[in-house]
């Protein structure tokens, strides 16, 4: 937008307007695309752990994400006072903020660990481990595709006892973790016929992430239905119509 829109009348600094504008957002977006391509290149040539330390977990990547967050926040704020036609816009951009913040939350607060248990063995909560419950592997089952050794499915019966001494049994299998007081216990793998590898995680960023994602999709749909987006895109048809008027050549061709 080259002209100042009326809702920009709020006493906001020109810098803020710039930081919240597409003119700032697109270069940042392109920079991020470059960074991500670099990250996947490192992942494929050196390894996932290196990619994490050089790119995705590095200070400059965090700065980049913060800048995206900043431009999103300012894009939303500078539109104030919001009108009905901004619904989709506000929804999309604020849910993107929620998504990035949830990503930061997961990055900082997510806890995970794998536990390898043989049938009858028990993993106990200790002072050093943050897991507030004990897990006992009661039974592990592995099913193969008929006539082969290719694993078709595997599942574990576990007995979970929380810090208050209450216990319950639960079957966990692939794609079906056990959810329990904000913790999740996954069937991650197996060794031999009676040893299960379990993954225990707690991720406080997950719920806000889901909320953000839901509203993002909703927002995009609203933007599709709003008038500005439903006919091609603003500004563009004018250019083309002007051009087609200049070139009088009309051809009958339809598909």
């Amino acid at each position: 937008m080259t002209h100042r829109l009326d809702w920009h009348k709020a006493r906001l600094d020109r810098t803020f307007l710039f930081l919240g504008s597409i003119r700032f957002a697109v270069p940042i977006l392109i920079l991020t695309i470059g960074a991500l391509i670099y990250g996947t290149l490192i992942e494929s040539t050196i390894g996932a752990a290196k990619a994490r330390s050089i790119v995705y977990g590095s200070w400059w990547f965090v700065v980049l994400m913060t800048l995206i967050c900043l431009t999103l926040i300012l894009a939303v704020v500078t539109r104030y006072p919001w009108r009905k036609k901004h619904t989709g816009f506000i929804l999309v951009h604020s849910s993107l903020i929620v998504i990035i913040v949830s990503g930061f939350l997961s990055f900082l607060l997510r806890v995970d660990g794998t536990i390898t248990l043989t049938e009858g063995m028990r993993f106990s909560a200790t002072a050093s481990s943050p897991v507030p419950f004990t897990i006992e592997l009661v039974d592990f089952r592995k099913m193969n595709y008929p006539g082969s050794t290719i694993a078709m499915a595997y599942e574990s019966d576990v007995l979970i006892t929380d810090s208050n001494g209450r216990s319950h049994t639960q079957t966990i299998r692939m794609n079906n973790p056990h959810k329990f007081n904000g913790w999740k216990v996954y069937q991650a793998g197996f060794e031999g016929s009676n040893t299960a590898i379990l993954l225990v995680t707690k991720d406080p960023g997950l719920l806000p992430m889901y909320v953000g994602c839901t509203f993002l999709c909703l927002g995009i749909l609203i933007m599709y239905y709003s008038k500005a987006y439903s006919r091609g895109h603003p500004g563009i048809p004018k250019v083309s119509i002007a051009r087609s008027k200049n070139t009088k050549k009309v051809l009958t061709c339809d598909g």
């Binding site: 957002a25 992942e43 494929s44 595709y145 694993a151």
Partner: protein
């Protein structure tokens, strides 16, 4: 109303007639057809002998029919069942037959093989010292460095070795897994070398069959005896039997090849209608399109019924699904806006997708699923969404080509050009929302199976990159940095990113967690296509009008 009734009749007549064709073929069947329908278990799946033999033939010789002039006379014009019987009944002789293809001249020179020959016998390869040396060198390289990328020669060597292994595994193996084990769905093996008591009768029947085969006797009776013996142990359940019949129908009818023919026909007729405007041709176009869609729907239905799973579990199925999405979007788009290019683009996109699917190696077409993918719920929700978005974005890219060729290269600008841009934009809108939703749903699945929502896996990262490319476009267009030309170019560049996400991440980068059932066919075609695309875009840049 008249058209609607024609449409309905065509939709129903086609599968019925093909089934009828199948049964009528069965009446005059020879021993090979009977033998081909015996159920066999391989890699965890019960399939007709026909599929097993096709797979074996492709794994060993690289083709199902070979009538290569350079082969010794005995093997020319023989099909996969002949090869299976030969390998089963006279393995010693087959070891000296030229069966294993080596295409690379430089490799043949290195191995001191005759470079003018295409096929080599297993024995001459197994006795080749150079091959042994070369492969042990390669093996130590791969062990030393897990990320080692083999050279083209080394890839060809590995390929040849795989073929030798497949052959020796079959020849030295314990025979065919065709003996029912009472009370289970497992099939035990029966061969000539050894057999447990339950397989004894089947072994005897096979021995009779071998003698008949070697003495050129009455194979029909021998195969009947084998089938009777198998059924006397435990007849296959109707469910298994019906799947076997469906798979035989799938193999012989080959719906995707028929769909290619139908789509190609539809494109030809559409071009004809563009030149000669006639009602009859319009009707023929409609019929050809219905035929193409019916073939694809039929193929999809057969796959779902045979394999009991959502039809998007590997590259092959994903490409087929892209083909269906493209043609359906094309038809729906055309119905909604009659004077548009949706249909032409949809047919082209569909044809491309199916042709690419045909490059996928046969063994990767019907693989057993790893445990983590055994969730039809998530396959439908995540994979189907993502692959549908690929179909829509492919359609957008094809429309962009039409625009660039017609308007930029040939300067045939008309009022309709604006409409093509709107059509590209529409397909991109549809594709981008599905891509976004599908990527998010992938995260939700990952949170339920791998224990995290997002882990910067290359597949995840690249789908994010594709999404960001499309979103950067939306913003750049909003501020007027790019116009129609830019939109068309981004539709193509964005699709290049999609192809990289879908294909390059697995086959070229070869890293990450999303490596299920991925074949390696067609890399050279994709590379050629990507280069051609970049040349094309540059050409358009040179030709583009200055106001764009």
């Amino acid at each position: 109303m008249r058209w609607l009734s024609i449409l309905l009749v065509a939709l129903f007549v086609f599968p019925i007639s093909s089934t009828w064709a199948m049964t009528s073929e069965k009446i005059g069947q020879d021993w090979k057809t009977k033998f081909a329908s015996i159920p066999i278990q391989d890699r965890g799946r019960t399939m007709p002998m026909d599929t097993f033999a096709r797979r074996l033939a492709v794994e060993i010789t690289g083709r199902t029919n070979w009538s290569n002039g350079q082969l010794s006379t005995g093997n020319s014009r023989r099909d996969h069942i002949d090869l299976l019987a030969d390998l089963l009944f006279k393995p010693e002789e087959m070891l000296t037959e030229p069966l294993i293809p080596i295409g690379r001249k430089t490799l043949k020179v290195q191995l001191e093989l005759d470079p003018s020959m295409m096929f080599f016998s297993p024995r001459e390869l197994m006795r080749n010292d150079k091959l042994y040396l070369f492969s042990s060198e390669l093996q130590s390289k791969m062990e030393h460095n897990h990320r080692y990328r083999p050279s083209p020669d080394e890839k060809a060597l590995m390929d040849a070795q795989k073929r030798i292994t497949a052959l020796s595994f079959f020849v030295a193996g314990k025979g065919l897994a065709i003996v029912p084990v009472t009370g289970t769905d497992t099939l035990a093996r029966a061969g000539f070398a050894e057999a447990d008591s339950s397989a004894l009768h089947v072994q005897l029947a096979l021995i009779t069959m071998r003698e008949t085969y070697l003495t050129d006797g009455d194979m029909d009776t021998a195969v009947d005896r084998l089938t009777r013996t198998i059924n006397s142990i435990q007849a296959h359940t109707p469910a298994v039997q019906s799947k076997i019949n469906l798979e035989l129908l799938y193999n012989t009818h080959n719906p995707w090849r028929m769909a290619v023919i139908a789509t190609f026909l539809a494109m030809l007729l559409l071009t004809l209608r563009w030149i000669v405007h006639s009602r009859t041709i319009s009707l023929l176009v409609v019929l050809a399109i219905i035929w193409a869609i019916a073939e694809q729907a039929f193929g999809l239905w057969l796959r779902v019924s045979i394999l009991d799973r959502a039809p998007v579990t590997n590259t092959y199925e994903a490409l087929l699904w892209i083909g269906i999405v493209a043609i359906v979007c094309g038809v729906l788009g055309q119905l909604l806006s009659p004077r548009s290019w949706y249909l032409a683009a949809g047919l082209g996109a569909s044809l491309l997708a199916i042709l690419f699917a045909m490059l996928v190696p046969i063994a990767d077409q019907t693989n057993s699923l790893p445990a983590v993918l055994r969730s039809n719920y998530w396959l439908i929700i995540h994979v189907l969404t993502i692959v549908t978005s690929f179909g829509a974005l492919l359609l957008a890219a094809v429309l962009a080509h039409i625009y660039l060729i017609k308007d930029v290269l040939l300067h045939h600008t008309s009022e309709k050009s604006d409409r093509i841009i709107v059509q590209i934009y529409r397909m991109m809108q549809f594709g981008v929302i599905l891509l976004t939703a599908g990527t998010i749903l992938g995260g939700v699945w990952a949170a339920d199976s791998w224990g995290r929502f997002w882990g910067w896996d290359p597949k995840e990262t690249w789908s994010l990159i594709s999404i960001m490319i499309y979103f950067a476009l939306l913003h750049a267009r909003y501020v007027g940095w790019i116009h129609d030309f830019g939109l068309a170019v981004v539709a193509i560049v964005g699709f290049l990113a999609i192809v990289w996400t879908f294909y390059g991440v697995n086959c070229v980068m070869a890293s990450g967690l999303h490596s299920y059932g991925f074949g390696s066919g067609g890399d050279i075609w994709i590379a050629i296509w990507a280069v051609a695309e970049i040349v094309f875009i540059n050409l358009c840049f040179v030709q583009k009008p200055s106001d764009q």
